[in-house]
């Protein structure tokens, strides 16, 4: 499997998770989730609304930079993607930096809207391709946004699962713990245990992530490659053959 094939498989995997959504918002710097949302819309007409933030042509917000956050609070965004320099076993994410705050080294850009959106969007999919003990840690150095909250805290959303280049974990909010759902081709349970810094539930018989549906893959390559290229030209050039 080439790198391009792996990325296409991730796109198809994520697309399937968005099928029950009406409105998916994606950051302009998130090509794989963005492509997945565009693919799901093309394949099933669902999500009906895909909003690529920071883009001009594919962003339908007209109320300024605050509309995303208001829209989430209104319950009008069903799914969103978050990443992080560190993600831990309780689904806490760290976008701030390594080491003691405020003199983090390295310092990452900052928390963006994560401390808010993680509470308000029902299905937040954590997406981080790098699957190492450096990124998937036992405890983050800085909690940009917590994975779970006490019952008295107003919280309408949170982590749904975590997708990396190696595996797909579901998050159990009650148990405050990830469980391994499937292992991508090319990896193994041993590989995942070796490279994951946090403890998680798993079964010895964890299945392999199923390959993308050929029809879906074809749709991505034939029809969706063009809108993807319009939004994410650099990314598109790396996964779609030049025609």
């Amino acid at each position: 499997m080439t790198v391009a094939d792996e990325k296409k498989a991730l796109i198809c995997l994520i697309a399937g998770l968005l099928r029950d959504c009406n409105h998916v918002a994606v950051g302009a710097a998130s090509p794989i989730p963005g492509a997945a949302a565009l693919l799901a819309k093309a394949a099933w007409g669902s999500p009906r609304h895909v909003n690529i933030l920071g883009s001009v042509a594919n962003n339908f917000f007209t109320g300024g930079g605050g509309e995303l956050f208001d829209c989430a609070a209104q319950g009008r965004i069903d799914a969103f993607f978050l990443g992080g320099g560190q993600i831990d076993g309780e689904a806490n994410i760290n976008l701030m930096g390594r080491g003691p705050y405020p003199t983090s080294a390295p310092r990452w850009p900052g928390t963006f809207g994560s401390a808010y959106l993680y509470f308000l969007i029902p299905k937040v999919i954590l997406f981080r391709e790098e699957h190492t003990r450096r990124t998937l840690v036992e405890k983050v150095d800085f909690i940009s946004a917590p994975g779970v909250s006490d019952e008295k805290i107003y919280r309408k959303g949170g982590p749904y699962g975590l997708i990396t280049s190696k595996a797909f974990f579901m998050f159990n909010r009650k148990k405050r713990r990830f469980s391994l759902l499937s292992i991508h081709p090319g990896s193994s349970l041993e590989d995942i245990l070796d490279n994951t810094g946090f403890a998680f539930d798993y079964e010895e018989t964890t299945p392999v992530t199923p390959p993308p549906d050929p029809e879906l893959l074809k749709l991505l390559e034939m029809d969706v490659s063009r809108p993807v290229a319009e939004v994410y030209p650099n990314f598109s050039a790396t996964i779609f053959p030049v025609t």
């Binding site: 930079g65 080294a105 963006f112 909690i143």
Partner: protein, 276 residues
Amino acid sequence: MPAEYSDLSISDFASAIPDGAKLAIPADYAGVSMAATRALIRRKAKNLHLVGVPTSGLQAELLIGAGCVATLESSALTLGEYGPAPRFTKAVREGSIHLIDATCPAIHAGLQASQKGIPFMPLRGILGSDVLKHHPGWKVIQNPFSESEDPIVAIPAIQPDIALFHAPLADRDGNVWLGRKRELVNMSHASKTAFVTVDAICETSLFETEEMAAGVLPTLYVGEIYHAPNGSWPLPFWNGAKVDDAHMQEYMKMAASDAGFNEYLERYVYGESAMA
């Protein structure tokens, strides 16, 4: 607004921004006045308090590198796909700037509180984030409308002295067109005044049609306008210009070292190969 924009040089424009000013600045994709940024560095502005609305990028990076910044209040400083901002990274590691790290909707809420003349705005989320723990201004209060325990974060108003940004168009009355970039409207209403560089001057009133009027910031809120074609360079501009990719890559290389960053300033800011 005076109609004689041409009387004003970009140096005058930057000189009207005092040392110590609290400046609201937009994210890299929303219309950054890089022309004014370079002029601020040339006039050796000091102790600026930058408010990234809700984030900042190359503008804050350059001002921090050039020693103009005392405080950075923002939800992020990002150069996007170009990678970690070298001067910002260094300043954080050395503790040479004061950080007020926030989260995007809280920056918007603080500005909207100022816009509405209220002391604070409550905001959901945030509880349990270390951003709350370290923020000097936010408070957790009980929701006065809930019978049971219901903590909520109160975000105090943020009132910048000046909203500084780049827009496509201004007319001779001092009205500015900014389309659907309404965060620029909010930050101008929230600030004491707005300083705007524009790509072009329009000889007819922006209020002539309701289509244009819908995207106008009225002159009442505008302090200074400077005609700076392509004034967001090398950043992209939503009204047309693409990022100058080669320049950004050159920046990343040069800014990796102190000497290289100084050479960058010499070449592109102090020197006249800068666009403005």
